[in-house]
């Protein structure tokens, strides 16, 4: 090697250490993966070919800072991200319980609890924060995740826990790992897994996938972008399989891009949820549940809510409602929630003249109603509710007294969200923690006589057989064959 070449290499080396990989965020924002192809546009031909096809398959990527921890950081980050894609609070709680149950592995191989508990708590703290965010549907979970991983101390704690877990798993399953090693597993683990400077290796990914991600139903794909022969990037897969070797993922894959010495995170277009216009959805559970999914156990209609909603229907008024909307009380709730404290006023009190404007948000949508109006509204508005409501209701309580001059209950102001009259207007992801299955889908219901498809149902309509339509094609065929 000539002096010049050496100088050239040294220059490249110096530039490398000042490369963006050693600065910048620990975990970057998600960006278009065309940047990778651009980066390699002037590189070796093998790289050019391999990266050219990348953006069409993998739409996005995320950088990790190349500080010697990028692989572990990418692995831990994508694990949390996969959990967010499940989008279920229960899953997060389940994972916390499962990881906690693995402390005995750590104890078994001799880690001291008072040492690893700090790292474990960082892991659980983040799970809890994300669960909290999902629960409140503030749409902030991704930001929390990114911020947490850009805090050096917290992220290192999380990484360290995964390292210790990988090491413990390997030492507890020596038959899976010792055959790959030329020296004792214990030494390998302390030197190449637990060591703070040790970067993620293939065995560690295997250990983490067996210990953590496969049981959670996630696959890990590692794409190896190197100078090996071929036109495509090799992918190593760590997928959960059943006893027959069939892949049983829940459709969520964590994707890492490995370039010699460095890991980044990759995404297919479908991995990334469409940007959701997140706005805080008020937790107005009772009413929305009633509209969307029948009756929840704890459904306690609150007359003040009802009234507020009804007043948003043009032409309806408080006075009209107060007589026609009885206190809906489903009596299977033995301890009904306390009724809102409204001042008892004569139920049929003619609306005070003129209707005193009430200082609450919904009033903006209601045209002021005059006393003279009210009578008409009752008699000719199409939305009259005069027919008695025939729900399984015991009208055990007197109709809730309602008065116009009563200030709007604070609850409507606090929650302040826009009323959504239809389930189809709920935000995407609304109630992602709960199941909204209609009862009609259960097999019990399908076989019961409450199902109109059941012959004991009074509305049962037998399917009529119309031979013409059913055998139309068959006849034609037969006609042909007979005519020959």
């Amino acid at each position: 090697m000539s002096e010049e070449e050496l100088a050239q290499f040294q220059k490249l080396s110096n530039e490398y250490s000042a490369d963006q990989n050693t600065t910048g965020p620990y975990v970057g924002e998600r960006q278009s993966s065309s940047a990778i192809a651009t980066e390699y546009a002037n590189a070796d031909r093998v790289y050019q070919i391999k990266t050219a096809a990348l953006p069409s398959q993998y739409a996005y990527f995320r950088t990790c800072r190349g500080d010697g921890h990028c692989g572990w950081r990418a692995l831990a980050f994508t694990y949390y991200e996969a959990l967010l894609r499940v989008g279920d609070v229960n899953k997060l709680e389940e994972e916390e319980a499962r990881l906690q149950s693995m402390h005995n592995l750590l104890n078994q191989v001799g880690f001291q609890e008072h040492v690893y508990i700090d790292f474990a708590e960082e892991v659980y703290m983040l799970l809890q924060k994300l669960a909290q965010s999902l629960r409140s549907m503030d749409g902030n979970a991704e930001n929390i995740l990114l911020e947490t991983f850009n805090d050096y101390g917290t992220a290192m704690g999380i990484i360290t826990f995964f390292k210790l877990l990988a090491s413990a798993w390997m030492q507890c399953h020596p038959n899976d790992f010792q055959p790959f090693l030329e020296y004792p597993l214990k030494t390998y683990c302390s030197d190449n897994i637990e060591a703070s400077q040790a970067e993620l290796d293939h065995l560690a990914i295997g250990a983490i996938s067996n210990a953590v991600t496969k049981p959670a139903g996630f696959a890990i794909h590692v794409l190896y972008l190197d100078r090996s022969e071929g036109t495509s990037i090799d992918t190593h897969r760590f997928e959960p399989v059943d006893q027959n070797g069939m892949s049983i993922t829940n459709g969520i894959t964590m994707r890492l891009l490995y370039r010699p010495g460095h890991y980044d995170i990759l995404y297919k277009a479908e991995d990334v949820p469409a940007p959701i216009q997140q706005q805080p959805v008020p937790a107005q559970a009772p009413l929305q549940v009633a509209l969307a999914a029948g009756y929840a156990e704890e459904f306690v209609p609150r007359s003040n809510n009802m009234t507020d909603i009804m007043t948003m229907i043009p032409g309806l008024s408080y006075t009209g409602l107060s007589q026609q909307w009885p206190s809906v009380s489903y009596d299977y709730d033995p301890s009904p929630a306390p009724q809102p404290q409204l001042q008892p006023v004569p139920t049929y009190a003619p609306a005070p003249t003129p209707a005193a404007p009430v200082a609450s948000s919904h009033q903006e949508y209601v045209t002021p109603v005059h006393a003279s109006h009210v009578g008409h509204a009752q008699s000719h508005h199409p939305l009259r509710l005069e027919t008695p409501i025939t729900l399984p209701i015991h009208n055990s309580r007197p109709p809730p007294p309602m008065a116009i001059d009563c200030p709007a209950p604070p609850v409507t102001i606090e929650k302040g969200g826009p009323f959504r009259p239809s389930m189809y207007e709920l935000e995407p992801g609304f109630g992602s923690g709960q199941l909204h299955h209609l009862p009609f889908q259960t097999s019990i219901f399908r076989n019961s006589h409450y199902n109109t498809a059941h012959y004991l149902n009074p509305d049962f309509q037998p399917e009529e057989w119309s031979p013409d339509s059913e055998y139309a094609t068959g006849n034609r065929g037969r006609l042909k064959s007979t005519s020959q």
Partner: protein, 168 residues
């Protein structure tokens, strides 16, 4: 051709030394609740970032019944970076140089956040009885250890100072 890559703690915005202090506080509690024969460790002051430790030379080694004082300094990135550990008592040992600096893998690239003050001191104690002569900092000591135990022991005793002498 090895390219020199910089890695590590340079300029890392650690989440502050308060969490480091908390961790060290826990380690201190552990050491005080479960005293280990032949090992002591205590912070120099209330900020917890510098400790003084002592280890007792293990039996049936040239260091038998000698007490060695060490200083331990913890950075803001502890426990993700190893502490800086130095022998304060002069020691004649193949893996320790004349200023007390130690060559031990777990204090360098094999450091793990799962280690602790106690595990470091236990490792150093066993290093006294089992030096790594393959990569000595003190070549003469490595040679005497292998060839002339009596001369080795003489050098150990000549170099050692009792803690009282050290403070004076």
């Amino acid at each position: 051709m090895a390219l020199s890559a910089t890695r590590g703690a340079n300029g890392s915005n650690a989440s502050g030394s308060s969490t480091v202090a908390q961790r060290l506080q826990k380690e201190l509690m552990d050491i005080m609740m479960n005293p280990t024969a032949g090992i002591t460790a205590f912070p120099d002051d209330e900020n917890m970032m510098c400790w003084t430790a002592t280890i007792l030379g293990p039996d049936s080694t040239p260091y038998e019944s000698l007490i060695f004082k060490l200083s331990m300094e913890f950075g803001a990135t502890y426990p993700y970076e190893p502490p800086t550990v130095v022998f304060k008592t002069p020691i004649y040992h193949p893996n320790v140089d004349m200023s007390g600096r130690i060559c031990l893998d777990i204090l360098k690239d094999k450091w793990s956040a799962g280690l602790s003050v106690l595990s470091v001191l236990l490792s150093l104690q066993s290093l006294l009885g089992e030096p790594n002569n393959a990569s000595p900092l003190n070549g003469q000591a490595a040679e005497f250890w292998d060839t002339d135990p009596a001369a080795f022991k003489r050098h150990v005793l000549a170099r050692h100072k009792a803690p009282e002498e050290l403070d004076a």
